[in-house]
Amino acid sequence: MKLYEIVNSLSLEVKTPSLDLNKEVTGGYVSDLLSDVIGNSKKGNVWITLQTHQNIIAVATLRDMSGIILVNGRNPDVDTLLKAAEQGIPLMVSSLPAFELVGRLYSLGIRCQ
């Protein structure tokens, strides 16, 4: 499934309008612990988190993730937005809690291999 399809299905707010959303999403990963994401996420995963700190962009870049979805309507820090655009990591926001958002992604067929 492509990232833009997820954005449309779940009405996500895109915070990085300059970036291409025509990326393949290989699976989902939900965690608020950066070390855990570095250790366990997979290439092309979309990452669901509460963390808004700019370090999330470095982690997503390192793991070659397809994008980051912030939950509970959390707004990214300015530094995070700048880094996201610079590194080409699409950043989206959902007003839903993580559990609910993951449930809906799961219903769309996105898994965590």
């Binding site: 612990l33 950066l34 509460l50 963390q51 808004t52 700190h53 959390r74 820090d77």
Partner: protein, 153 residues
Amino acid sequence: MDNKVAEGVFFLTGKDFSNAGAASSNLKGVLEGMSVQPDIIRRAAIAAFEAEMNVIIYAVAGMMHYYITPETIRIVVKDMGSGIPDIGLAMTEGYSTAPDYIREMGFGSGMGLPNIKKNTDRLDLDSVVGGGTTLEFIIYLNKDSKGAKNETL
């Protein structure tokens, strides 16, 4: 609740993560013992817990005093820490100076003070850089108390 008053104090030690939260847990027990409404207990316990964690994370040591009357729960947390240079910034959701190891423990996400504010009816924060921080908050127990929020009591 019963027409009782209670007060007490807990001593908090910085970086003592194995006991972090124990004071707030005890306070919750005290409030339950006084038959305070569950949603009021939850608000007081959450605010106390966040304040306690702030001392554990950021200060060398501190004290948490509580004063309960039939009208109010008042909690004063005084610490020996480095103080807060910019209180406005510290009250901003998501702003945090916590090091990575604190974040990896599930804390320091910049939600502590906003959470305290959200759960209390009055909040005063007084901090001196290099001298420590005093945080005082009040939760009203009755609907008609001055300034009480529209909570179901």
